[in-house]
Symmetry: C2
Subunit: 334 residues, 2 copies
DNA sequence: TTGAAAGCGCTAACAT
DNA sequence: ATGTTAGCGCTTTCAA
């Protein structure tokens, strides 16, 4: 019962071409026939078969967001906000958005095969074989929050070194010199950036950082909890802990609280990202807000440029907002 | 540079048909030619054009999740978890998932036109014109967390009346009789269910419910905050507040805390849903956990049945887990 | 078992 | 300005 262009053409007493032309605003069609065709289309509620258009056009009008299973937008609040912004943009541009989670087996998901999508936004990274396949098929992609991306890829990253410095300096401005670090070694570049900034800033104010104050086995809330436990067990209790990611702070604060350390009275905490729960936890987390919406917009825009065949330069986000909440205590002597 | 079936056929020295057959495991192909074809496919890394398949098959291998802008999975943690489960199922079945947000203008999004999707899962509801269009196009859909759905539609709902009763009875078991209600009138059916259960349960233990104890202008955290403010301002302070949705409890608790009421010492709070932040807020919220993953699975399964042409009965979720956390105080005299 | 060929519904180059 | 027609790349019927 689905109408086809052929039937519309018949009803209007014209050829398929004319119908196609008026639908797409191409070619040239007389005013009367155009009217007639438009009328029939309205009347019949006709909508062209999209698969057919896609085949003819070699376009899908669809982009996809992809990420490793563990860091999908459904598990990672940072990526969630970015994805939300991407969806907004998609809608604005008449594109559909598909979400794809990448399994460990690195199998290429059907979304990426045979030109099902016009472009993809990866979070963090995609398996190399997938990236290569995409390049082979010439479907453009960008990598948001990328680590270890090959230089030829277009990435959208945050300036972790700068943000780490900024957070640390804030802590120092509040009188802290005994500051521990919780970061992740599982993303080597990230580890390098955060540690580097930490060493750089801290070395100027404190030469005696116990080895336990640099914890890098964090990957999520639970592992950050363990990191904090190790810091506490070391019996060199810092006055502040800088967590390279808000979710680490959530775990670390939980640990410290459960062990009876009042926060921020005994220990202050800071993070980076400002994800949804950061303002809900107790105490609300002082952190570096990164504009996730903007990151989403930028990701989409870069991808969109590439889809139009243009080249797109990687961008590194340096803007931030310091969210002073209640997890940092001013310990300067007044 | 993209290979086509024609070229593969040529390379293997066979016809397109044979290639198609071996790819889809249909028809009958001699063992030698099958081997040969498989080999070529492997060698060349050939993947058939999906749009072409879709056109031929009249299928998309894609389902979509759709919801009003304000209640998108990106703004509603309850729907977020459901969507996550749907994605899991999609992957398992080789389907892609697209996310679609519906604007107020009720314009039919491109995803729904011309058979771009094989089925859709709505949250809460879709605009009537969209639902009708889908029915006209014979694309199946289900409505998760539906309110006011037409009886012929397949829905996945929660038993709000039962859950409200359950929560209230828990509160009562802890000695509370002065219990206020925060719910939403914006979903009439929901309002009816929660209020009904409230009146029913409460009437048995307390005949003097001040009018301000029934607040129904909640729609989100902020409006629930206002509801709580009205309860407090009424100067009839209840010992407990039941919020028909966790996010209402979040707002209400915030209000009470800011006004200086220690929770749960002065006022206890309960909710329904058990969304992500419920366990992070201060104090952690005692609530009725609904299995959102299961809801996602069921939604997908029902839709999938319908896509196979089967009929699917609506289901109403009655299972729950009582999450006893720290927002309810036992005020019985020991 | 295999191949030829007719669709699927649309776009767009080409003719008229 | 309009119609004719050859694709787009695959599936599947029908013959051989």
């Amino acid at each position: 019962m689905k109408l086809t262009i052929k039937e519309i053409a018949a009803m209007a007493g014209v050829s398929k071409a004319s119908v196609s032309y008026v639908m797409n605003g191409k070619g040239s069609v007389g005013e009367t026939t155009r009217k007639k065709i438009l009328e029939i289309i309205k009347e019949t509620n006709y909508t062209p078969n999209q698969n057919s258009r896609r085949l003819s056009n070699g376009k899908n009008y669809m982009i996809t967001v992809a990420s490793p299973d563990e860091t999908s937008p459904f598990d990672n609040l940072f990526y969630l906000d970015i994805t939300k912004a991407v969806l907004e943009k998609c809608k604005e541009c008449g594109y559909s958005l598909s979400i794809c989670s990448l399994s460990d087996d690195d199998k290429i998901p059907p979304e990426f095969l045979g030109g099902s999508t016009d472009g993809v936004i990866f979070f963090q990274s995609g398996a190399l074989n997938i990236l290569h396949e995409l390049e082979r098929q010439k479907v453009p992609f960008v990598i948001a929050d990328a680590y270890n991306a090959e230089p030829r890829h277009t990435t959208i990253t945050t300036d972790n070194e700068f943000f780490t410095e900024t957070a640390l300096k804030y802590l120092i401005s509040k009188g802290h010199t005994d500051i521990a670090l919780i970061t992740s070694q599982y993303l080597p570049e990230y580890y390098f950036q955060t540690c580097n900034a930490y060493r750089h800033v801290i070395s100027e104010i404190n030469q005696n950082i116990p080895i336990e104050w640099i914890q890098s086995e964090a990957a999520d809330e639970a592992s950050a909890y363990e990191c904090m436990a190790r810091i506490i067990d070391s019996e060199h209790i810092p006055t502040a802990v800088f967590c390279a990611d808000d979710i680490f702070a959530v775990g670390a604060i939980k640990c410290a609280s459960e062990r009876g350390y009042k926060i921020p009275d005994y220990i202050s905490f800071m993070g980076i990202d400002d994800i949804l729960i950061s303002s809900y936890i107790n105490p609300p987390l002082t952190t570096i807000n990164i504009d996730k919406k903007e990151m989403g917009y930028i990701s989409f825009d870069l991808l969109f440029s590439m889809m139009k065949g243009e080249t797109a330069e990687s961008v590194k986000i340096k803007t931030y907002k310091l969210m002073e909440r209640a997890s940092v205590k001013d310990i300067r002597i007044k």
